[in-house]
Subunit: 366 residues, 2 copies
């Protein structure tokens, strides 16, 4: 157990924007919520998965809907209490701790706000190790855990619990209520016992996020290393490309932000050309037409000077970025994991080949 | 306690179509469901409100959505089990009995099917004593009972429980899920303890329905009485008009069936003209421009030969009908009751004057 205070929140938010892999929503508004809750209620206890009893009820916290709506509509502060009471009553047992379901992006921050306001510990674990666009894309699905019972509440105090026959129906019904509630709500899904969390969760991901954030902040102070070397070392990242953005194609198909970014090389990459495609999160990175990384590995764009991650919303002509690949959580690389998040699931016609093999030198053409 | 078998179901369904006051949905499809359930699982125990312990959980059963969709989409048979389990789990206590919330129309039948399939008793009580178009229009609202927690399930097995800040939000969120589920679902709302049911419910309404149904069936066999006299005596009804339908105006405003019926008098009413307006259920009846009955009293149209109730859907040019007024449950006539269901709430610009005073001779022009 250790405490998460204001300083830790800053680092976790920065790390979470890297784990967002271009998507997940900007953690900024979530960070304000976490900071507000900690200032009001005190620091949060972060506990390791091993500290959780097998039969304890763990309540993951996330937002559903458009992050941009969340920013404008805000939250009431009472959502976590409403969800806590509904879940505890439904489960017939008090909730023991909260946890993030998605450590990348804005959803990294809401569980911190919830833990502070409820006076509950937060477990150092999530279900993705990054951000993903669909709710069944969690390691707990591999473990056969249902997304439901799923609890939902809006900032006005309305709430609902769903039990559905498939996760597609969870999505359908919860989405309808989210829309009726104004486009953004707080949810708890994959409510589970401690034993399940320990068996299938991505452990210590909050700590990892915090380390990433701290490393980004400190890249310029590493003796004997250039900032870029320091960044790649700390993030265990693979440098894929460095370039200037020369084109951004972005569209919304009603459900997702989809598009691609074209870059022209700078520095060592002069004369080369790279492309990154995305569906909320970045899906593929290729250099001179050769794939260098695909989902479920993390493809991140960071500023070439500050190494601060750039989300797809912030992409602009002329911006200089480095494309970095991070290995995804090992469970995503298994057959069961790839069933949920393979490149083909996202419409990319290629087998999954681990990042570290792809970057050795392109064996495959796009 | 007494048993409700196939014969009783026939009578209750017929009586319920009278209590539907022109709306509430045709009980026919509901009757098939009740009959199917009784044939499969045996008769239902009907218990009087007084037999229910004060702290027992009572689960009202109804359908939400369009009755016409219910007829086409059907039900899976497992809805009641799903709702029962969700409610029992949420309340932390097993449900003791089911009851109807709306004794008029199709919703009179679904609780019978539920009771048979669940092996639970049904309480001889409802929250309307008739049919009404909006979910807050129940006597339990007068008692300060919230519509939520409200449980909802579709025929596929998806379910949800809502807790909302107002009944308007219940309507909003449950309606969104009902639409996503295909337009018709089974619900339980105003889940309450025995003491509340006894304090605010419309008692013995199932028995009243059954008596009405039996009376309609037997109008031709009452010694010394014409069928019409027998019908009015048994129903405690006030004859308002008898005529031939000469015009029907019907429209749907997306939410309700609204319209009016014009009749030309026959028999004693020759030369007179009457109008009945409706919003799902009949709202007003006037003769020669004078109001003779308004909501919340029941305005029913029945066939002049068989005395079988005619719903607004079945109204046709040339049909001969009698317009009958039935006194509503006394709680509707109180200030608190009229706040929910006064003529003005339905857009009719008149004070509520009890049926029995209006029929004495019209004092007021429409």
């Amino acid at each position: 157990m250790r405490k998460i205070g204001l300083r830790e929140v800053e680092d976790i938010a920065l790390g979470a924007s890297l784990l967002g892999a271009g998507g997940g929503g900007d953690p900024y508004y979530g960070k304000l919520m976490a900071i507000g809750a900690i200032k009001e209620c005190g620091p949060v206890e972060l506990i390791s998965p091993e500290e959780v009893p097998d039969d304890a009820i763990i309540m993951p916290i996330a937002m559903m809907g458009a992050p941009t709506v969340l920013c404008e509509k805000g939250t009431g502060g009472d959502e976590y209490r409403v969800i806590y009471e509904m879940v505890s009553q439904y489960m017939g047992k008090s909730v023991y701790a909260v946890m993030p379901m998605e450590a990348g992006g804005v959803n990294s921050m809401l569980p911190i706000a919830a833990a502070a306001r409820l006076g509950l510990p937060m477990v150092d674990c999530d279900g993705m190790g990054r951000a993903f666009p669909e709710l069944q894309m969690v390691t707990f699905t591999i473990g056969g855990v249902s997304a439901t019972p799923m609890a939902l509440t809006d900032e006005k105090g309305n709430s609902a619990i769903f039990n559905t026959i498939t996760n597609k129906w969870t999505e359908e019904l919860a989405r309808a209520v989210t829309m009726s509630c104004g486009g953004s709500v707080t949810v708890s899904l994959y409510i589970m016992e401690g034993r399940t969390m320990k068996a299938f969760g991505v452990k210590n991901i909050v700590t990892r996020s915090e380390q990433l954030g701290r490393a980004i902040r400190g890249v310029k102070n590493q003796e004997g290393l250039t900032p870029e070397e320091a960044f790649l070392k700390a993030s265990e990242g693979y440098g894929i490309f460095k370039g200037k953005i020369v084109d951004v194609l972005r569209e919304t198909n009603g459900k997702f932000n989809i598009g691609r970014i074209i870059m022209e090389g700078i520095g060592d990459y002069r004369g080369e050309r790279a492309e990154v495609t995305f569906q909320n999160e970045n899906l593929t990175a290729s250099v001179n037409g050769e794939l260098r990384a695909t989902v479920p590995d993390l493809i991140c764009l960071v500023d070439t000077e500050t190494f601060i991650p750039v989300t797809t919303e912030a992409l602009k002509y002329g911006k200089r970025v480095m494309v970095v690949g991070l290995k995804c959580y090992e469970m995503w690389r298994t057959e069961a994991g790839l069933e949920l998040v393979s490149p083909r699931y996202f419409g990319v016609d290629t087998d999954y080949i681990p990042l570290e093999e792809r970057v050795k030198g392109g064996a495959e053409n796009v």
